[in-house]
Each structure stands twice: as structure tokens, then as C-alpha cells.
């Protein structure tokens, strides 16, 4: 039985260490090396690896953001030099990680741990990890989405509003709408509460985009945005919106 492995790290020497340590494990076959998250997404989709070695701090998108873009992400062993925030997230979700520089022994231990775990997939851990990682200081100011084969980085202040759409959330910006496979609850957790308000079960709005709030039907309201969009404000959402706007 052989397993497919991918290394994703922006530093060539860091990749070469993993490659070197992998030589001891004949059952692990290195199928590709990637130097950033964009290449990583592509490679993972193409090869469907069993295991990836993933760095956190990489150009453009972090390792966490890369994972968000992949449906059913493979097992991951994180490799990082120093990132207090990431380490907290790993510890909290019992995900294995290697602190650079690491030894062959420590590497072997991570592999055998994975071998045991491989039989029982735990996608919940990855999900929780990503949720936590979304608060990473480097990430909480932007959202990374995939449109077709392209990857788009949206700075949060450019978002007009978010709308729930089945299993997805529609992110509306001046450039158009982008879909992200997430829940509204997730964005409510992750986005800055002083900038985004959940005005309705299915809507979250960037308060800087609001120009007016009008009454609508009986006890509801509607928020008018600069773009002209009208966002429903529910009975529960109205007081939240009022207090944040300081009305």
C-alpha cells in the first residue's frame, strides 16, 4: 500500500528537509512540491493526496486559507517555524504539527501517528481548526474564495453584505457576488462585530455601506446600501443594528 504525499512550503530549503526525511518512508510517495497555496490547491485537486505537509505563512494565502478552498481536504501535518496563534489552534484541536527545525525522529513520530489516525478520518477536527484559524491576525481581514479555477482574495472592508444561500454564503462586493461554502454563523463568529451586523437570519451587512434604514411592513425594517441594495432587517436584528450605529 502506498500513499500519495504533497509538500507545500514557500521556502525551497524547508521543502528539501521534508523530502529528505521522507526517504526513510518507502510507503510514502512524494507526488508534487508546491511553493504557495495557489499551486497547493491545484495539486491537491489533481492528485487527491493522502497526506500533505503544509506551512502556514506563505505568499498571498496562508496554509489555513488554502485548506478552506479545498473540499474534503486531505490529512495535514502542519510545519511552521513560529506562530503562536497557529500553535494554539493546533493544540486546541489535537492536530499534529512540526516546529521547524525538526528532527528525523520527530518527523517519524508524526508519520506513525498519522498512520494510526489514517484509519479513522476525523474531518471535524479540521473543520474546528479552520474555524479557529480564521481569527488569525493575518486572515481575519480578508476572505479567500474560489471562482471557477481562479482564487480571489476579498479584503473584508470591500464586502457590502453577505447572504445565506443553501449550503453557501453569497459574498457581495462592488465586483459582484462570490460563493463560499460556509454558514452564516461562521461569518458571524469570524468577522469583526463592530463592522458587520447580522440584521436577519439570512443577511449580514457591512455597516459602512448603509445609507438609510426605513421601516418596512409591520414591525420590520430595511437597510438601504450605497450600492442601492435593500437588506432586510428583522425584528431581532433592528436593535442590534441600532446599538452598533449608536442610534
Amino acid at each position: 500500500m502506498s500513499y500519495k504525499v504533497i509538500i507545500i512550503d514557500d521556502e525551497p530549503l524547508a521543502r528539501s528537509v521534508v523530502k529528505e526525511y521522507l526517504q526513510k518512508h518507502a510507503q510514502l510517495e512524494l507526488v508534487e512540491e508546491c511553493s504557495n497555496g495557489f499551486e497547493g490547491v491545484k495539486a491537491v485537486q489533481q492528485h487527491q493526496p493522502d497526506l500533505i505537509f503544509l506551512d502556514i505563512q506563505m505568499p498571498k494565502i496562508t496554509g489555513f486559507e488554502m485548506l478552506e478552498l479545498i473540499e474534503n481536504p486531505p490529512h495535514v501535518i502542519f510545519t511552521t517555524a513560529y506562530d503562536e496563534f497557529a500553535m494554539q489552534a493546533f493544540e486546541a484541536n489535537a492536530v499534529d504539527y512540526l516546529l521547524k527545525p525538526f528532527s528525523q525522529e520527530r518527523f517519524d513520530k508524526a508519520i506513525s501517528k498519522w498512520m494510526e489516525k489514517n484509519k479513522t478520518t476525523d474531518s471535524k477536527a479540521t473543520e474546528n481548526l479552520l474555524k479557529e484559524a480564521a481569527r488569525h491576525p493575518q486572515q481575519n481581514e480578508r476572505i479567500v474564495v474560489k471562482t471557477g479555477s481562479k482564487i480571489k482574495i476579498i479584503p473584508v472592508q470591500e464586502i457590502h453584505y453577505l447572504e445565506a444561500a443553501d449550503d453557501y454564503v453569497k459574498i457581495i462586493t462592488a465586483e459582484g457576488a462570490f460563493l463560499k461554502k460556509q454558514t452564516m454563523g461562521y461569518f458571524e463568529d469570524v468577522l469583526d462585530g463592530s463592522l458587520f451586523v447580522r440584521t436577519h437570519r439570512s443577511f449580514m451587512v457591512n455597516i459602512q455601506e448603509i445609507t438609510r434604514i426605513d421601516p418596512y411592513e409591520k414591525e420590520n425594517h430595511v437597510a438601504l446600501l450605497k450600492s442601492g441594495a435593500k437588506i432586510p432587517v428583522s425584528r431581532a436584528g433592528y436593535p442590534k443594528l441600532k446599538s452598533i450605529l449608536g442610534l
Binding site: 514557500d10 521556502e11 525551497p12 530549503l13 524547508a14 528539501s16 528537509v17 529528505e20 511553493s35 504557495n36 495557489f38 505563512q57 506563505m58 505568499p59 498571498k60 517555524a81 513560529y82 506562530d83 516546529l99 521547524k100 527545525p101 480578508r142 482574495i153 479584503p155 472592508q157 470591500e158
Partner: protein
């Protein structure tokens, strides 16, 4: 500005009490000498109201003008002038009320030297008290400022420690060495030496210290060489300095965070090869250093202009020179440009020599 004691209850209660007792005593003394109750009261009230005004005047004057040790004689003058003014004002008022050879005038004339003496003493005491009070206040204010300045220094020191350690940089560099050991041992050895030299020069530097530009550029070069090993072909650097700028001076560790910031944005904001350039020149007797790095205008909005690294540099420049405009950033297409001006006053040269 010092606070006037007249606004505090703690002062006003004993102050009023004292004058109440004093006015009564004054009245009683005159009564014992043979004046009637009403005349004694009139004299006491007029005399002491004038003195209270004098007290208020002393506190007001000293609030705005607190003499140093050399000016203490002025306080003595102030007491004499006050006493004289009190004397003339009181004589003028009482003369207007009582006829020339009344019992009151006789008693007044016999007690005159004593009363002038007492007024002089009271004015003297009040002045001394006001002087001590405002001096104490000034000292408390200075102490507060000193504590605050010390706190800032401590924070700067802590920050410096963190800057020096740069765990992310350090561990990644060690990881590169770990990789090189098995594939290119000679380069591993070279990198250990570069890293050691960089750490040594950084640790040696003091926040207060001023360095010549060429020394600072040398340690920046070491830093960039280490980063180049880490990032391979992706990172190229260019350091240029005018000859007359090389001997100019700058505070230690001022450029390091700027270059770190350039690396961070240049290398993590694009996936393309990155060139970091540092140019130094002399301009109007100031040292000008320009750091440039590429960035992605689309995903890093301009508000990121002053990241953490830059705001700390701005703060340091302000603490050193009291000027806020020494650090400027701008963007030109996809290049982020940081410009820092470092004044070179004569006094700095003297400090360096000390």
C-alpha cells in the same frame, strides 16, 4: 498649570476657620484696649479683609510666576509691597470712617508698629506657604512625567528585545541551516557564521546609540543575505548609498524594522520574485533612506501603509526628534516606498563623541 488651592475644599475649610478665629481675636484685643464692640469689629474686618485679598493675590501671582532660587529676593519685595499697600488702603478707609481725634485713632496710633509687624508676618507666612505649595505641586507634576517617561523607555526596551529575538526569522533561518547541513555543508557553515554575526551586532546595539550608516548597512546586508538563503531565487536585494551619506549617523536599529516590513510585504504579498531596494543619500544635511518593495495593490489596500513595524518606527522618530513627518510612505503602481529622513544636528555629533 498648577492648581489653585482655592478650588479645593481641603484648603478652604481650615483657611476660612483660621481667618474667622483671627478676626475674632483681633476684635477681642481691641475691645480689651477700650474700644466698643462695633468699632473693634469694623477695624478687624477692614484690616483682615485686606489681608485676605493680599493672600489671594499672592497665590494668584505665584501660580503664574514661581521664582527660581535666584528670584527668591523678589518674594521678599512682594511681602514689603503687600504690607505697604495693606497699610495705605486700611488707613485710607478708616480715616474716611472715623474723625481725626477719636478714641479709635488714639488707640490705633499706639498699636500701629505692632500691627504693621503682624501684617508683615502674616504676608510673609502666606507667601512662604504659597511658594512651598506651588513648588510641591511642580515637583509632583515632574515626578509624574518622569514615571511616564520611564514607562515608555521600559516599553521600548521590551519591544527591542522582541525585535532582536524575531523568533519567526530565527527559527526559519535555523531550519534552512538544518536543510543545508546534509545537502551543502559548506553553505550551512557559512550561514551559521552570518547568522551569528548578525545576532551579535544586533545584540550589541543600544537603543540610545547612534551609528554610522555604513555600519548599519553592513548588518542589514547580513540580514538580507540570510533571508536570501531562505527564499532562494525569489529574493534579490539592492543596497546603494552615496559616499557623503555613508558617514552620516542614525539611531541604532531604526532601519531594521523597515526592511523587515519590506520583506514581509514583498515576499508574502506576491508569489513573484521580489526585489527589495535600499537607497541612502544626503539631503539638506539630513540622511534620507528609501526602502522599496513590491506589493499587490488589489489585495492589500493602501490603509495597510503603516503596519506595526512602521508605526513603531514613527513613534521612535517622534520620541527622538519631536517630529511626525520624518517617516513617509507612498505607493507607485505595485511598488511600496518608505522614506525616512534622519536629522543630523550638531548636538547629535557631540553626543556620539561622549
Amino acid at each position: 498649570m498648577a492648581v489653585s488651592p482655592f478650588q479645593s475644599k481641603k484648603f478652604m475649610v481650615p483657611f476660612s476657620l483660621f481667618w474667622f478665629v483671627w478676626i475674632s481675636a483681633h476684635q477681642l484685643a481691641l475691645y480689651k484696649m477700650g474700644l466698643d464692640w462695633f468699632t473693634a469689629l469694623t477695624d478687624s474686618v477692614v484690616s483682615n479683609t485686606l489681608l485676605i485679598w493680599g493672600t489671594w493675590l499672592v497665590f494668584t501671582i505665584l501660580r503664574y510666576y514661581l521664582p527660581r532660587k535666584e528670584g527668591i529676593f523678589n518674594l521678599f519685595l512682594l511681602v514689603i509691597v503687600l504690607t505697604a499697600a495693606w497699610f495705605f488702603a486700611k488707613t485710607f478707609i478708616m480715616n474716611a470712617i472715623y474723625p481725626k481725634n477719636s478714641v479709635y485713632m488714639q488707640i490705633r496710633n499706639t498699636t500701629l508698629p505692632l500691627r504693621i509687624g503682624i501684617a508683615f508676618l502674616i504676608n510673609g507666612c502666606v507667601t512662604m506657604f504659597a511658594y512651598a505649595y506651588y513648588n510641591w505641586q511642580e515637583k509632583a507634576e515632574a515626578d509624574k512625567q518622569k514615571t511616564e517617561a520611564e514607562k515608555l523607555t521600559r516599553e521600548a526596551e521590551l519591544f527591542k528585545l522582541r525585535q532582536q529575538l524575531q523568533p519567526h526569522f530565527l527559527f526559519n533561518a535555523l531550519n534552512s541551516i538544518n536543510a543545508l547541513i546534509s545537502i551543502k555543508p559548506d553553505e550551512a557553515r557559512k550561514m551559521v557564521q552570518q547568522l551569528s554575526e548578525f545576532l551579535r551586532t544586533t545584540l550589541k546595539k543600544e537603543e540610545k546609540q547612534w551609528l554610522k550608516l555604513d555600519e548599519e548597512l553592513h548588518s542589514l546586508q547580513l540580514y538580507l543575505d540570510i533571508e536570501k538563503v531562505r527564499f532562494g531565487n525569489r529574493l534579490t536585494t539592492r543596497i546603494e548609498a552615496d559616499v557623503d551619506a555613508l558617514t552620516m549617523q542614525l539611531p541604532a536599529l531604526l532601519l531594521q524594522p523597515l526592511v523587515e516590513n519590506a520583506i514581509k510585504f514583498g515576499l508574502y504579498d506576491t508569489t513573484e520574485p521580489t526585489q527589495i531596494s535600499i537607497r541612502a543619500m544626503a539631503e539638506n544635511n539630513e540622511l534620507k533612506v528609501v526602502v522599496e518593495n513590491p506589493f499587490d495593490a488589489e489585495t492589500s489596500p493602501a490603509k495597510k501603509g503603516t503596519g506595526f513595524g512602521l508605526s513603531s518606527v514613527q513613534r521612535r522618530l517622534f520620541l527622538l526628534f519631536g517630529r511626525n513627518e520624518l517617516l513617509q510612505t507612498e505607493t507607485k503602481e505595485n511598488i511600496f516606498i518608505t522614506t525616512v529622513m534622519i536629522p543630523q544636528p550638531q548636538t547629535i555629533n557631540e553626543e556620539v563623541q561622549q
